[in-house]
Amino acid sequence: MNSRKVNIESRNEQFSTKIKSRITLEIPSDDNEFLAQQTYTHGYNVLDLMDHCDPIDNLFLIFKGELPNAIEKKILTKLSIFLMNQGPRTIAARTGANAGVGRTDVNHILPIAIMGMSGNYGGSKEVENAMRFVHRNVDKDAANVAKQCLADKPDDVEGDWIIAPGFGTDFRGQSPFLLDVKDKFMQACPDNGYLAWCQKFINALPAEKNCGWRLASIVAGVLLDLGIPARVGAGLFQLLASPTAFAHGVSFADKPITEIPFLKDEDYEIKPI
């Protein structure tokens, strides 16, 4: 026991004495240092942004530090509108709806819905992991990477066959709507970019087994083409996908609890131990 005893010592690390921000500058008012006289985002006066920007310009500015060019704005607008219009079957919308109908404090519906979209199957974790996978492999031959993934992940699973983060089957099929969405992004994104690499990768997957695009691979390719790193991508996905998740959830906040199915006992099987 004695040889296992250790001394507890501070590492004496030099912590910053102030929080740093490269995003926002707040100039204090003359008579109260807790109140701002002027506020700037990446150097632009927020009052000017209010006059001259739309939300997509401002969103891009916040994360990239510069206003978007026409192509970047077009891509981010499409991504925002696509993700903003997710349906009520998503886990995010359903967690929000359970909160809404369960009379959860309405302040919590959005954070609950956002937590609901954080998973590695259909959620932001899958987007993050897909971004890391594509970023790590984009300089490699897509067909060779696909060949290796197929060798590593044989189709011997129940449920969806995921051969790489963000890539595989989608309810054992391929969503026609998602493919149309993907085609729209392919038209807007660079021919030699990340989304284009994703297409090459998918071209080498067995189409007859419906192995290809998932939501995460589309979002990952687009975000990477916008220069967004994986560590930001997960949260940006959550941010952009949150409007309908919240809207679906809060739409139940003034409804009776009977508005959402509560399974009858015959549909809720408690298996014998």
């Binding site: 040889s3 990446h42 399974l263």
Partner: protein, 280 residues
């Protein structure tokens, strides 16, 4: 298993739940993993026995539940400088709900650096390390192999999960829990023995020590818990400390916990500039 390209698994589960965990049969009983909650658990088993039962499906012994309870106390620090606790305090000072404050603190500790977020990495390491040890690797071999592996960033500073700690070196909770384990009559087994050998070697060569996650995961793997079970049991690990920090900040005058004046933020971004005329 053969390829399953059908939608049957989803069709089968539409509008139906089939569970081993239990549930409410109105007017009959509430079942937890085969036990009747009101008849078998309430007043007869501890909260931690019930928690572990719900997670694993197996009712642990009283002494195992005591051990878990002690291990939760070890993460109940009421120090509002710690990141998860401070988030609880910030919700407290902004007059948020205690549920939101504590939930924010718990979620904050889903971290690669500390708290339950580091549990899986710690458990997976010691399982891997024992397999390597049985292949003949020494503790130093294991450390070097781990540091060079894809699981950690190669370099001089050891970043083995369970064997480093932010802010300080050494971990007083290891010694405290060793006392608890001995007093409850637990016998040390192979994962924990190896963990201490790695700890000793790491201290000699890298001036780092086993931390609390390293101890807990090695002990629990020895006691038959899986990586997923350990992670799930500890998902709310930090909540007691967050409660404390939320409560105090919430009791104090609103907005007075660590207030920031404009100049308390060091701006390191672009200097103020004119909005470009050609934008839009």
């Amino acid at each position: 298993m053969k390829s399953n390209q059908s939608k049957s698994i989803w069709q089968k589960n539409r509008g139906k739940i089939s569970t081993n965990k239990g549930g409410w049969r109105i007017g009959e009983a509430i079942y937890n993993c085969g036990f009747s909650m009101m008849d078998d658990l309430v007043g007869k088993k501890s909260f931690f026995q019930t928690l572990v039962l719900n997670v694993t499906g197996k009712l642990p012994s009283e002494k195992m539940a005591h051990w878990f309870e002690a291990s939760f106390i070890c993460l109940s620090w009421p120090d509002s400088r710690i990141w998860c606790n401070q988030n609880g305090a910030l919700l407290g000072t902004s007059q948020g709900s205690p549920v939101a404050g504590v939930a924010a603190g718990i979620l904050s500790a889903d971290s690669r650096m500390y708290g339950p977020g580091s549990i899986s990495g710690g458990a997976e390491f010691i399982i891997r390390a024992l397999a390597w040890s049985k292949q003949g690797l020494t503790p130093l071999d294991i450390i070097q192999k781990e540091l060079a592996s894809k699981y950690t960033k190669p370099g001089n500073k050891p970043v083995i999960v369970g064997y480093a700690r932010p802010i300080a070196t050494g971990d007083e909770r290891v010694e405290a829990m060793e006392k608890v384990s001995k007093s409850l009559g637990f016998i040390e087994k192979e994962h924990l023995t190896l963990a201490f050998e790695i700890h000793k070697t790491l201290a000699e060569h890298y001036q780092e020590n086993m931390n609390y996650v390293g101890y807990v995961t090695a002990f629990l793997v020895d006691e038959g818990f899986s990586v997923n079970e350990i992670h799930r049991i500890y998902s709310t690990w930090v909540h007691s400390g967050v409660h404390a920090c939320f409560a105090e900040a919430n009791d104090n005058i609103a907005g007075t916990f660590l207030p920031l004046a404009c100049d308390d933020i060091e701006y390191v971004g672009k200097a103020p500039r004119k909005f470009p005329k050609n934008a839009q």
